[in-house]
Amino acid sequence: MSEIDVLVADDEDDIRLLLRLQLRGAGLNVVGEAADGIEAVELCRTLRPDVVVLDLLMPRMSGFECIPVLQQDCPDVGIVAYSAVAGDFARTEMDRLGVPLRLKNGDAEPLVQVIRELAAERLR
């Protein structure tokens, strides 16, 4: 069993399904799933995962809005933005917030790699 616990936050049911299968296949523990930023914050507070995979465009509370809240409330949780949006605004904002950004892609390897890096940083 992996020692890395991951929370997946995405409003698309099928992206959550895909990530659940891909991350599990890579040996990671998907400990929770959130469909918007508010759920993501609530689950991070209660589950305290090592890393949250965060979509940027979500209803109720977007990933952009969610990140500062998570950084304040759950500073020990690593965050990776996983988005179909990678325009200048998203890149600049993620740079400013110090959050790595990965583009949604059928290949899970780049995402798995950054999750492992964030989890390793957390253990240091």
Partner: protein
């Protein structure tokens, strides 16, 4: 008609390619990712989970293509079959099933003349739009006169939409201020719904009524 200069045209081109690419990315990411998991999946997982998800996302990509053809007023998008009587109340009941939309009870709704698939497509866009931006359950009702039937959808929103956004809602690829960071989307739902309605001799309008957003799909009666 306003003529755009080269810089503005380039901006529009980049914006269109960007939003189309963004919307295609979700179904294609899912299709590719799930397809790569097929080989190692159990029989049960294949039939219960992976294949339905693959079909769902292929349909989503197909619908996106249809929307783009309709929005671009490409001839292929126009129906080839003749118009026929359609039960608009049944179409709406199907579209709102599983959503928060409440349909007000009323008398019989007269049949409209059109293409069922197109009308269902237009209604689906209006219901989807309402679901994305509603701050309370949207309420649907029907109105009719001697020549038309209307599906009226009232969506409560916390902050009234600026008048400019109501006007721009029918512009291709326009997305309201609240939509940009809250939800993915092409910004073609309203123009597509209107284009579909107009193909059947109807129309879609949008208005602010006492702070609520009200969309109205009107079609000719049989």
């Amino acid at each position: 008609m306003t003529t755009l200069g080269p810089d503005a045209l380039d901006l529009v081109r980049r914006r269109v390619v960007n939003v189309v690419g963004h919307e295609l990315r979700t179904p294609l990411t899912t299709i590719r990712g799930l397809a790569e998991l097929l080989a190692d999946a159990s029989e049960e997982e294949l039939h219960d989970t992976l294949i339905p998800a693959l079909v769902r996302n292929a349909r989503r990509a197909e619908r996106l293509l249809d929307d783009l053809l309709i929005a671009g007023e490409i001839d292929t998008a126009r129906p080839v079959s003749p118009a026929e009587p359609v039960d608009l109340s049944e179409v709406v009941a199907t579209a709102v099933d599983g959503t928060d939309v409440e349909v007000e009870a009323g008398g019989d709704v007269p049949l409209v003349l059109g293409h069922r698939d197109q009308i269902a497509h237009a209604v689906a866009h209006l219901v989807e739009n309402a679901g994305q931006y509603a701050d309370a359950a949207p309420v649907a009702r029907f109105e009719h006169d001697d020549s038309t039937v209307s599906f009226v959808l009232r969506t409560p929103v916390e902050r009234a939409l600026p008048p400019a956004e109501l006007e721009l809602g029918f512009e291709l690829f326009f997305r309201g201020e609240q939509a940009v960071t809250r939800a993915a989307g092409l910004g073609i739902g309203l123009p597509v719904a209107r284009a579909l309605a107009r193909m059947d001799g109807g129309d879609v309008t949008i208005a602010d009524e006492a702070g609520d957003v009200v969309t109205r799909l009107t079609l000719p009666r049989t």
